[in-house]
């Protein structure tokens, strides 16, 4: 097994140096399953995806298949999607509604609470003394929700969800609780499996506004009316200084625009005016309900963020994604679009359309992210000795204590800065090398 000393040599976050081994090593990936994914709060589903009793949604926690199911009393339960007999999936639908889950191998069946309720010819095979109560589906030990978002953890002793959000809570509130009705998901989950380590995607959403100018230049150029290009494509009067970055010791991070600037909307192109007008209204609502601090970093200004370890979001366009690990060099994206429940139908439709134009495997922007993630994995897959000796440069803004940003504890930083990425790997290293969840500063 990989030693703590080796892991520390791979992640020298204080100096902004990261080894490619953490993206390509099979050992690191395997340990990560237990130590990071086994001990984090992981996003499972939103309330609006499973409204009625029996509604289920299939997803993953790390590499483990799970399903989350609405119970008849309105509560929610989640289990490993693995039969206790030989281990195959008992639910082979991606989503839907069911009263029970019957395994197609030998027919063991489980109710929506995960209890083993049926076995073909049970008395003739296992005898009358068989104790079914011991052989239900393996439950996800802890389940909590925040603003309709259900998170699960296999770690019984994990701190409560709200504590684990830390100072990031204000960002969660400003994009999920902007309007009194909260948000709902547009139906459907867009899934894409691609080359690349999940951390490359998660860290990018945590703190990397920097890549947009190069990676997404073709999106800005083609989809933005020329008269808006200056103010809407990050090339306005504020330049890079219009950006702020926010990072926390929990490893969460976000990048956003100065709310006072006119650069706030990345959602560009035709039909965006409908969304813009709505976001203006949302901003007024946030200022009234949640106060000025929230309004200054409200959803319309947030470009990107990651809730450690693998839930990423965009404030505008309004999209969310989870990066499921599928091996050191492979990940699967689950992507959703969220809209304000209180928004009129035509606004919801435009929010959906604008989000889909830019994000998802077909998105004018995200197509090129997929290319970059795959290209990084492409270089590492060959396992070159020299390539793996590179210590990657995560040093942007190192030593800079501008704004409220402290190198070790995070905070807010004006301008471009890789502080959120350094804090993401700080948390990751703590979880990989220490007992517990690495929450403490």
């Amino acid at each position: 097994m990989i030693s703590n000393e080796t892991l520390r040599s791979y992640v020298q976050w204080e100096d902004g140096l990261i080894s490619p081994h953490i993206f390509s090593s099979e050992d690191v990936w395997q340990l990560e399953q237990e130590r990071v994914f086994g001990r984090s709060w992981l996003f499972l589903a939103h309330d609006s995806q499973i409204p009625r009793p029996g509604d289920f949604f299939s997803t993953y926690m790390g590499a483990d298949p799970v399903m989350i199911v609405r119970q008849s009393d309105g509560s929610v339960a989640a289990f490993l999607n693995a039969c206790r007999h030989r281990g195959m999936k008992v639910c082979r639908g991606d989503e839907g509604n069911s009263k029970a889950f019957t395994c197609t191998y030998h027919g063991w069946s489980y109710d929506t609470a995960g209890r083993l309720i049926g076995m073909p010819a049970a008395d003739d095979t296992y005898g009358p003394d068989f104790d079914r109560s011991r052989w239900g589906l393996v439950p996800v030990n802890r389940l909590e929700h925040y603003q309709g978002f259900w998170f699960g953890s296999f770690d019984e002793s994990i701190v409560d969800l709200e504590t684990s959000l830390g100072p990031f809570k204000i960002h969660m509130d400003t994009f999920l609780d902007s309007m009194p009705g909260g948000v709902e998901f547009v139906g459907g989950t867009q899934r894409a499996k691609m080359s690349g380590n999940w951390k490359i995607a998660a860290e990018q959403f945590a703190g990397d506004s920097y890549h947009a100018f190069q990676s997404h230049v073709s999106d800005f150029t083609v989809s933005t009316p020329p008269e808006l290009l200056d103010t809407r494509s990050f090339q306005g009067e504020h330049g890079f200084n219009g950006f702020h970055h926010f990072g926390t010791v929990q490893g969460h991070g976000a990048g956003f625009n100065d709310a006072r600037s006119d650069q706030r909307y990345y959602a560009i192109g035709a039909g965006t005016d409908v969304v813009d007008r709505w976001q203006d209204r949302v901003e007024r609502e946030v200022r009234e309900r949640l106060g000025d601090e929230a309004a200054d970093t409200y959803r319309g200004t947030i470009l990107h963020g990651t809730l450690f370890p693998n839930l990423s979001f965009l404030g505008t366009p309004t999209a969310l994604r989870v990066w499921h690990p599928r091996g050191p060099n492979e990940m699967e994206m689950y992507s959703w679009v969220y809209v304000d429940k209180d928004a009129p139908p035509e606004v919801k439709e435009r929010m959906k359309w604008v989000a889909q134009q830019h994000f998802g495997p077909q998105g004018l922007a995200e197509q090129d992210d997929g290319e970059n993630f795959a290209a990084i994995a492409g270089n590492l897959k060959r396992r070159g000795a020299q390539t793996h000796k590179i210590m990657l440069n995560y040093r942007m803004g190192l030593g800079d204590t501008n704004d409220t940003h402290e190198p070790a504890t995070g905070g807010r930083h004006a301008g471009m800065n890789e502080m959120p990425q350094r804090l993401f790997y700080r948390r990751w290293l703590r979880m990989m090398t220490e007992d517990g969840t690495g929450e403490a500063a």
Binding site: R92, G93, E95, G96, N97, T189, G269, Q367, E371
Partner: protein, 187 residues
């Protein structure tokens, strides 16, 4: 081998498939020409074959349990992979031609195969409902390979002598999880 007694005989082909063979030939040539433009990277010319009122839609495919099998494809209120207008197709074409669209620069080598063309008349005299199967092979950079198979349901409109445009296109990609780093090709 056991003797089989056919109880129903072969299914009758729908009468709607028997359009004039000259029309069918013209439509087949149009479909081949269209993908030739894509594979030759003549994207702007391809765009000129899309009607101003085109709807270009690729729903998602999902694994559903038996009772809601009819929801295998995502509906109009749900997310889709593509939901394009002529304007947004124009953005995609401009992006492909920008030389700064890194998932297609350096350009991919694509080969679109179009088969199983079925043509049916519609109530509008110059519009035909056309279904075809496709296989698109993409090879890029050194060894990156993607293969997409699926079906397209089109409405094609005759707009002049040997001139056609795509008015509707629904693309059913035969994947529930997109198995490529992106969908940067047109179908």
């Amino acid at each position: 081998m056991t003797a089989m007694t056919p109880t129903t005989g072969p299914a009758a082909l729908p009468a709607s498939l028997f359009v004039d063979s000259a029309v069918r030939a013209e439509i087949e040539q149009f479909l081949y020409f269209e993908v030739e433009l894509l594979d030759d990277r003549r994207f702007s010319e391809w765009l000129s074959l899309c009607a101003d009122d085109i709807r270009y839609w690729m729903p998602m495919r999902r694994n559903r349990l038996t009772r809601d099998r009819d929801k295998e494809n995502s509906g109009p209120d749900e997310l889709s992979h593509l939901n394009e207008t002529r304007q947004s197709l124009g953005w995609r074409v401009a992006q492909l031609e920008s030389n700064m669209h890194w998932s297609e620069a350096p350009p991919s080598r694509t080969r679109h195969l179009v088969t199983n063309v079925r043509v049916a008349a519609t109530e509008t005299p110059d519009e035909y409902a056309v279904r075809s199967n496709f296989l698109c092979y993409r090879n890029r950079l050194e060894e990156d390979v993607d293969i997409w198979a699926g079906e397209r349901g089109d409405v094609l409109r005759r707009v002049g002598v040997r001139q056609w445009q795509v008015v509707r296109r629904t693309i059913l990609l035969d994947q529930s999880v997109v198995l490529s780093p992106n969908l940067s090709v047109l179908f």
